[in-house]
């Protein structure tokens, strides 16, 4: 680190790889769409790449990612799944004369 201070080339290179984390993302609406596509398993390669880059330096995007993931997981795991009543299955088959 100290050595880098004496080399402008190294310092500049260092800046490129160690950006300060952004607190606010001006593209958050677009980033949010990409984050959702990633979580849905529907992201294109370009979107995945954009996602990986942002996850390294944008605090705003990191927070959005964790919230989206949490809401999606809550919908999947917590919301009660109603089962079809047995008598409805029997009623449908009876109407169609399909053996039970």
């Amino acid at each position: 680190m100290l050595l880098d201070m004496h080399s402008s080339a190294s310092a500049s290179e260092n800046n490129e790889t160690r950006k300060p984390q952004k607190q606010y993302c001006e593209h958050h609406a677009e980033c949010l769409k990409k984050i959702q596509a990633v979580l849905d398993g529907e992201a294109s390669e370009a979107e995945k790449e954009h996602f990986r880059e942002n996850m390294d330096d944008c605090l705003h995007c990191i927070k959005m990612y964790h919230l989206e993931k949490c809401v999606k997981e809550s919908l999947q795991a917590k919301v009660d799944k109603r089962l079809c009543p047995d008598n409805l299955v029997q009623a449908i088959k009876a109407k169609l004369n399909i053996p039970a």
Binding site: H28, A29, L32, K33, Q36, A37, D40, G41, E42, H66, L67, E68, C70, V71, K72, S74, L75, Q76, K78, V79, D80, K81, R82, L83, C84, P85, L88, V89, A91, I92, K95, L96, I98, P99
Partner: protein, 209 residues
């Protein structure tokens, strides 16, 4: 529940060719390819209608239609998506009929929201905290989901609860994939708003840090 023939045909996804099945084949398709999805279908119907009796009617109606138009189904293709599309279209037809009655649902509200869907792509942030959502129980999340207009509720159910791909959702809803994405985006923003309002009303901390 009698439905006009022309409406019924519109509800059935178009097949590239019709297949003539004998009775044994029809029963076999019904039992092996349609019935395994009945719990998902019932759950979808219940989440759309939010009423057990209506869900019963909707599921029964859908399975009877599916059997009647079984020649439009190509064996071995995506039965779940095919059935979901019939159910969703049956719901819309029935829903529109009910909207003529003053009770149940405000269809105008849904139409207005639907039509402003693209225009409503505004900047959106929420200070809803991950911890707040984690602390919520299923009924609280379901209440927020149920409070969304039906078009938005539908995409969240299909994607997050039933796990359909965007392509399958596009076929079920008969809309382009781009519209699936934007509607889902908007639906999730609305859902987070509802969760936030609910969390605030319950006195949960929703401030950031």
């Amino acid at each position: 529940m009698s439905v006009i023939m022309s409406e019924e045909i519109e509800e059935i996804p178009l097949a590239s060719s019709e297949t003539s099945y004998n009775d044994a084949e029809k029963n076999d398709i019904f039992n092996r390819e349609f019935m395994p999805h009945i719990n998902s279908m019932y759950n979808f119907a219940f989440r759309l209608t939010m009423d057990e009796d209506d869900a019963n009617d909707l599921v029964q109606d859908t399975y009877l239609k599916a059997f009647r138009f079984i020649s439009s189904f190509e064996r071995g293709t995506n039965a779940k998506a095919w059935l979901f599309r019939i159910l969703k279209n049956s719901f819309i037809n029935d829903y529109r009929k009910r909207s003529k009655e003053p009770s149940k649902v405000d269809y105008q509200e849904v139409e207005t929201t639907y039509n402003s869907e693209e225009a409503a792509e505004v900047d959106h942030t929420t200070d809803l905290r991950v911890e707040t959502v984690q602390d919520m129980i299923g009924d609280e999340v379901a209440t927020a989901l149920n409070s969304l207009p039906v078009d938005f509720r539908t995409v969240i159910i299909l994607c997050d609860i039933e796990g359909f791909t965007y392509e399958e959702m596009a076929k079920i809803l008969d809309i382009p994939i781009g519209t699936v994405r934007s509607r889902l985006h908007r639906a999730r923003n609305l859902l987070k708003d509802k969760l936030k309002v609910y969390a605030s009303s319950m006195g949960y901390d929703t401030d950031e840090d």
